[in-house]
Symmetry: C2
Subunit: 217 residues, 2 copies
DNA sequence: ATAAAACTTTAGCCTTGTCTAAAAATATTT
DNA sequence: AAATATTTTTAGACAAGGCTAAAGTTTTAT
């Protein structure tokens, strides 16, 4: 049985090392989970004892296959619930995160899989992140950072890397949603800002914003 | 902020004293929640400190208005989730309890109320129990125990008092569902058993079964 | 009206998960 | 290659919630 707290650590390790396959540092986990390094050390020892993680003192932690699967299930649940909240309960994409953070810990395989079917087996959540299947696998997202697109070219907004309230509200304010076509008009080397054209207007986006936008082309 | 554990105690007190208005004994709570009397004493002290309960040493505990509302919200969530599981995710009524027991603790008023709307504002859960509204109120169920029905009379199965797996599986096996018409044919004083006629057959039900069946007439 | 039984509370201990402060190990500079 | 800085671990404390055993209170039976 894996506890709520253990699930949160598994998810953090999974997301910091690409799907848990790369060793992750104690401090990185502490930062992600908003806890202290000493708490992280305690917990990863416990995960290692349970054969959910590989841990070498001072050298970081990675997930075992068992741990990777458990983490993928948590991510799967989180993203399916986000789809449910947006599609069925009329939440907007900036309201779903905190609730999904709770719902991801509900334990019932039947629930997850029935929910998946009920939603029509979606492949991506409302922020464009891929939803792992029952085996914990998903196709890699093949979108590219808007910073890597040559001026003059266009693409479709496929993924926002940052799901914070503040960022999503910024996108709402500027009438930008997943699936929108975006054309890159100009790149300004001085501050790495971009001039883009959206469905509603031309606008300048800062480096901080651009870093979080990924397009499929 | 009320914790998961506190919510479970509030719910128990709410359900043991009719909607929390009657004082409930320590032992009754311990039995209901499957814990020890000493743990209950600790917790009701805490609830009293938080102004969620009225507690007099050795005299039992009842809910304050604040506590009653908090408890009604937990019950509301539990029953709405049960409807969701049965109506939308194809769970059968004997599979919903454990999952609803987890889902009832998810904190988001928006979630509960949107779910309520999504389900079409149901008034009863899959076992016939009433669903409290946003203010924590519900109409009293006006069904009567099948033991109080005179032989020869019929009614519609409106409520099953026991939601245990074993009992619901018994009903499934005998093809009995909420909404079914049931006619009482005979009462046997020796063991308080009943002969009834259902949509599929005549059968004898024991006192233990009869005590849990309520009909609307 | 007591004695016995049943119930409730208290005291002290345990586990989980978190924290701070100090010690140990590793990385980075000079 | 030493000295310094950073990161990680250890040691010890704490809060929440639960338990057992013992003591105190109320109820029931004689």
């Amino acid at each position: 049985m894996v506890s709520l707290s253990e699930e949160n650590y598994l998810k953090a390790i999974y997301q910091l090392g690409q799907q848990g396959s790369v060793a992750v540092s104690t401090n990185a986990i502490a930062k992600k989970i908003e806890s202290k390094a000493s708490s992280v050390t305690d917990m990863i020892k416990k995960l290692a004892e349970k054969k959910l993680a590989n841990y070498v003192k001072y050298k970081g932690v990675s997930l075992t296959e068992k741990g990777r699967l458990a983490a993928a299930l948590v991510v799967r649940k989180h993203r399916l619930w986000e789809v449910f909240l947006v599609e069925k309960l009329n939440f907007s994409w900036d309201e779903v995160h905190d609730v999904a953070e709770q719902l991801e810990h509900i334990k019932s395989l039947k629930l997850v899989n029935q929910l998946d079917d009920f939603l029509g087996n979606p492949t991506h959540d409302p922020h464009g992140d891929p939803i792992p299947d029952r085996e914990g696998n998903y196709l890699p997202v093949k979108s590219v950072s808007i910073l890597d697109i040559n001026p003059g070219k266009a693409g479709v907004l496929a993924l926002v890397k940052n799901s914070s309230d503040a960022f999503l509200k910024y996108l709402n304010k500027n009438n930008l949603s997943l699936g929108d076509s975006i054309k890159v008009l100009d790149f300004e080397p001085f501050d790495n800002s971009l001039t883009i054209e959206t469905k509603s207007k031309k606008m300048i986006i800062s480096k901080e914003v651009a870093q979080n936008l990924y397009l499929s082309i």
